[in-house]
Structure formats: C-alpha cells, structure tokens
C-alpha cells in the first residue's frame, strides 16, 4: 500500500536550459507542453507505470482531462489501456498476470501490450 498517491511517481526531467529547445510544433508532436520545453526551459513531470501493459507514461502537467483509473488494480492506467478495456470481450489482466502466463512456457502473446492475445504454445 503506497503511503501517498505520489509515492508511485517517477520523474522525467527535460533540460533545455543551455539549448535552443523545441519549437511549439516539435513539442506538440511529442505531446510536451510547448511552454515548458522551449529555449532555456527546464521541464520536470511525474511519470507512472501502467499496471496493464507494463509501460511508463509521462503525465503532462498541463493536462486538464481526467486520467483513467482501474478499480480492480486501484491504480492509474494509461489512455490506451483505458480505451481497450471498454471493448467487448475484454479480460482484465495485469502485466504480472501476463508475465506469469508467458513465463510458464505455455502461452505466447500474439497481440500487443495493451491488447494481448494469449495463444497456447505449440509443442
């Protein structure tokens, strides 16, 4: 049980304090807030792991939309996994569950990380 909600926060630091930095167009392409990655700027933002796909997500400090939360895991999940869990036939599996199945040697993932398709290994 984490002590604080921010106990699980990682950190990303993007230091352009001695650099021309990114143009607003370049920043938007990467999903960064343009005002934080320009010339002479230094951006620091929290990151979180997604318990469904096992990836890490940079939390845009300028975001105002709500973030997804999985009540089965009681953790933040990424936007991609949030979209996938609303599809028909969705089965809730954490990355730990998927890792356990795959490392048993009996299953392989023929899908993607957010949308795993677990198929039995051929003998």
């Amino acid at each position: 049980m984490p002590f604080l909600k921010t106990s699980n926060d990682g950190e990303i630091s993007i230091d352009h304090s001695a650099s021309p930095g990114l143009t607003p167009e370049q920043a938007r392409r990467f999903g960064y807030p343009a005002e934080l990655v320009g010339e002479g700027k230094r951006m620091t933002a929290p990151t979180l792991g997604c318990p469904h796909c096992g990836s890490a997500v940079i939390l845009n400090p300028m975001r105002t939309r709500e973030r997804a939360h999985c009540y089965a895991c009681n953790k933040y999940i990424c936007d991609i996994c949030d979209a996938v869990r609303h599809e028909p036939g969705y089965v809730h599996r954490t990355i730990e569950d998927i890792a356990a199945l795959m490392t048993s040697g009996k299953w392989r993932n023929a899908g993607s990380m957010s949308k795993p398709v677990l198929v039995p290994m051929e003998d």
Binding site: S7, N8, D9, G10, E11, I12, S13, I14, D15, H16, A18, S19, P20, G21, L22, Q26, R29, F30, G31, Y32, V37, T47, L48, G49, C50, C53, G54, S55, A56, V57, I58, C78, I80, V84, I95, I98, A99, M102, T103, G105, R108, N109, G111, S112, M113, S114, K115
Partner: protein, 180 residues
C-alpha cells in the same frame, strides 16, 4: 537480481521510421534490450539522453516495443571502438543472471522493427540534441516491463524516430535496468 547499466557514448542516432526495420543496421545507432530467454523479466528503471550535436537538431527519441526482431537474433556485439558502448553491473559484486540480458546497438543483417501498433505504448523522449538533456526515472513498481525474448513483449528499443520528426544527430545515453 542486480541492476545494470547499458550505455553508449557519442553515438550518431540515425533517424529511422517506426513500423519498419531500422535502416543501415550495421552502424550502431540504437539501444535495444531483450530478455535472455523465454522466462526472462526485465525492469527498465532509467533512461538518460545527453545531446551532443553542434547545431540545433531534433532528437525524436522513442522507447518502443519491437514488433519484428533483428537478424541475426541478438544483434551485433558491443564494441569499445567509437561509438563506445558498455553494459555492466552497477554493483561490482553483484551477480549476473544465468541467461544474460541481450543488449545491442547494431545488427549484422536486419535491424529490429520498432512498433507502430496503436495498442503498444511508446515512451516519448524527444529533445533538442544541441545541449538538451533528458532523464526519465521510474518509481519502484512503476517500471517499464520486458517479458520473455520474443516480439513485442520481449524486446524494447530506444531509437531516433524520423516518423516523430527526428533528425540524425550525436548523443550519449544510458539505460538502467534490472533483470530477473
């Protein structure tokens, strides 16, 4: 097990598209991490990129899943000649896993294919390589997972993505990871 650091210094990160095998694969230009066997689990704990370009250059760095493996499998061995690369234990008295993690920055025939699948996450790590520095550090339990040694789950790659607007440029980088 024991944490390790895979690093490259002053490497030219050739911009390459996502969803296609990385071109010019025999030239060191990416950092790939792959499980040592089908039951391997690797936590990616930190990525740092220090831009070394001498003029403004957009580094379209992305840490991505690999949807088609390189050939020959496992890529080419790291070298100490330019660009220097290394992979070692953070604690010198630590123990290596039985099936060591495969790390490589070049391949003999075909480069790995970074994912462009919309349901695979990409970690966007773009910066201006003219003086820009980027460091991502995961909190405990919030790491990026690599499971096994097959496509998508078993291999991830840090590369300069032209699809994201990246242009070829010089940078040093390290990936801190812990295998099990």
């Amino acid at each position: 097990m024991a944490k390790r650091v895979f690093s490259t210094q002053n490497m030219s990160w050739i911009a390459s598209a996502s969803g296609a095998a990385i071109t010019s694969p025999t030239t060191p230009q990416w950092m790939a991490v792959k499980g040592g066997n089908a039951t391997a689990i690797i936590d990616i704990l930190e990525i740092l990129i220090s831009g070394l370009a001498s003029a403004s250059t957009l580094g379209g760095f992305i840490f991505s899943r690999v949807t088609t493996l390189e050939a020959a499998a496992g890529g080419a061995a790291l070298t100490t000649s330019a660009p220097k690369a290394s992979d070692g234990l953070m604690n010198p008295s630590g123990q290596a896993v039985t099936n060591p993690v495969v790390v490589f920055n070049a391949a003999s025939t075909t480069g790995p294919t970074p994912s462009n699948v919309i349901t695979n996450a990409d970690l966007n790590l773009g910066l201006n390589m003219f003086g820009g520095i980027l460091r991502w550090n995961a909190a405990p339990t919030q790491q990026w997972w690599i499971v096994g040694n097959t496509t998508t789950t078993g291999e991830s790659i840090l590369y300069n993505c032209s699809t994201a607007g990246g242009a070829t440029g010089l940078a040093s980088a390290h990936i801190m990871y812990e295998p099990y």
